[in-house]
């Protein structure tokens, strides 16, 4: 064993610090975080394939499940078929669910692997981390939504009165909401096992009450009141507005603003769950 003589002190001399101090948020750090999250995904092609293909397969299945639903026989205006209304709703729900799952597991892994503690001991703003995740998964959500919307509208004959771009916009906001919810929920899960259990707890009630199975006004009044405060209800309403109206309606604007507002609120709550000091 070689020994270095203890006692030779070197005074802290002149040196150029190549480490810069923290700002509350920096675009470069946010972009670096988003790039890192995408790089991690690139090493996991199976997950990417599942995220992108599963919604398409589900829509395809759905189309032929409702194969025999009544078609429009010259009746004007033509009422939306079952596939039309459920398909449009699902275009909003799929990105929300996938992004919820992906984000909750990814951030939980960040917490349990110790990398979160390391990052928070470094000059990284909490907003950088959250925005980085939102950006990376947002990009993924764009790909997923473009494919699912394209498939539904052009290949499966989903009759949309409004613009397909508006469908895409709602789908993106839904994906952002899913990312926000996943980030928030991951703070309360101690393991990946628990994180997955949060999906039925957080997503299923919204799924039942969002108007997918029966229009919300037909529900028991208490349930209708609950559905009025759940963000997924507005995601589905927004989709249905595009389905039925050519123009951007006031209700559509209200729905998208509510979904975006909820996403921002939950993201802020998620940031609050990131603590630099832990017990």
């Amino acid at each position: 064993m070689t020994t270095t003589t203890p006692g030779t002190t070197t005074a802290p001399g002149t040196k150029t610090p190549s480490r810069t101090t923290a700002a509350p948020m920096s675009a470069a750090r946010t972009l670096a975080t988003a790039a890192r999250v995408l790089r991690q995904l690139r090493h996991d092609p199976r997950s990417i394939a599942l995220m992108i293909l599963v919604p398409c397969v589900m829509l395809f299945l759905l189309r032929y499940v409702f194969d025999a639903s009544p078609t429009c026989d010259g009746e004007t205006p033509c009422p939306p078929s079952t596939f039309d209304s459920i398909g449009a709703s699902l275009l909003g729900i799929f990105p929300l669910i996938t992004m919820f799952l992906v984000t909750s597991i990814a951030t939980l892994r960040e917490r349990t692997s110790g990398t979160l503690e390391r990052l928070l001991a470094m000059p990284l703003g909490k907003a950088d981390l959250i925005a980085g995740y939102a950006l990376a998964f947002g990009l993924l959500a764009i790909v997923q939504s473009v494919l699912a919307t394209g498939l539904a509208v052009w290949a499966l004959g989903l009759e949309v009165v409004g613009s397909a771009w508006l469908l895409l916009l709602v789908a993106l906001l839904d994906a952002l909401l899913g990312t926000a919810l996943g980030l928030f929920v991951s703070a309360f899960a101690a393991s990946e096992f628990q994180a997955v259990q949060f999906m039925p707890a957080v997503i299923f009630p919204q799924l039942l009450l969002c108007g997918l199975f029966t229009p919300r006004p037909n529900m028991q009044p208490v349930l209708e009141a609950i559905s009025n405060v759940l963000p997924m209800s507005y995601a589905v309403d927004g989709m249905n507005e595009v389905l039925r109206h050519t123009d951007v309606t006031g209700d559509f604007v209200r729905d998208t603003v509510i979904v975006a507002g909820c996403a921002a609120l939950v993201l802020a709550l998620g940031a609050a769950t990131l603590r630099r000091r832990t017990a």
Binding site: M1, S18, R19, T21, R29, Q40, R275
Partner: protein, 255 residues
């Protein structure tokens, strides 16, 4: 005796509570700048908690704790401290270089700093002797290799203080020797202060100064030579055992 005012780390009455347990009980100590200070003690004695307090990730810290002239946990310190947790904290689904690239971008962001980052990443990989594995996924590495990647992250840039929580656990004797040589090089050439914990007593001999801990208290704060001389023992290990027995006997007689 070191001058208290010049310490890289200065603690007065440092107390940490975790749940209803007091993990650190009113510690007073200092760590001299530019030196390697070893933190030794049995597992569960509070070494990691003390290190987390210094880095600023530990909650419920009371008393005074100054690090590099600022209160521990100050935002300005985050860029000046390199910290290695006991369990390697790296992304298993990234390669070594990708891991370091990301952490380097957090420390020193911006397009303009790209060349500087590439340089510091290459140096850090070389420091921990992983150049031949730079493009392997961290998850595919052995335990010892992963902990070296974790160490490399802490070496990025020019940290003024390195806080290393058991960095040599699970490494073979050759690697341990190489890493200790590296710590000495960093302290001497980069003028960094190093606080390193270990429960391997032969590593203690390589520290400039030792803090011996037991049950949330500091048993001794001295140089290895002085410790051996004081306890009239041959090795730091024997000195430590001597001091623990002494403390236990004192505790027994107090009852």
């Amino acid at each position: 005796m070191m001058n208290f005012d010049e310490g890289a780390i200065r603690a007065r009455g440092l107390t940490v509570r975790r749940g209803d347990r007091t993990v650190l009980r009113g510690l007073d100590f200092g760590v001299s700048p530019g030196r390697i200070t070893g933190l030794l003690g049995p597992s569960g004695c509070g070494k990691s908690t003390l290190m987390r307090a210094v880095v600023g990730t530990q909650a419920k810290v009371t008393g005074t704790l100054d690090v590099l002239g600022l209160p521990a946990g100050d935002g300005a310190l985050r860029a000046r401290i390199g910290y290695v947790t006991q369990a390697p904290s790296v992304y298993d689904d990234l390669t070594i270089r990708q891991n370091l690239d990301y952490f380097a971008a957090v420390l020193d962001p911006g397009r303009a700093r790209r060349a500087a980052r590439r340089e510091t990443v290459t140096r850090a990989i070389g420091d921990v002797d992983l150049a031949s594995h730079a493009d392997s996924l961290a998850g595919r590495l052995s335990g010892g290799q992963r902990s070296r990647v974790s160490l490399a992250v802490a070496l990025l840039g020019t940290p003024e203080l390195l806080v290393l929580d058991e960095p040599t656990v699970g490494l073979d004797p050759v690697l341990r020797r190489d890493l200790w040589d590296l710590f000495h090089r960093i302290a001497a050439e980069r003028a960094a202060t190093i606080l390193v914990s270990s429960h391997v007593m032969d590593e203690a001999e390589r520290c400039h100064r030792l803090l011996l801990m037991r049950d949330g208290e500091i048993l001794a704060d001295d140089t290895p030579d002085a410790l051996r001389a004081r306890t009239r023992t041959e090795t730091v290990e024997a000195a430590f055992l001597h001091l623990v027995d002494e403390a236990n006997a004192l505790q027994e007689s107090a009852r």
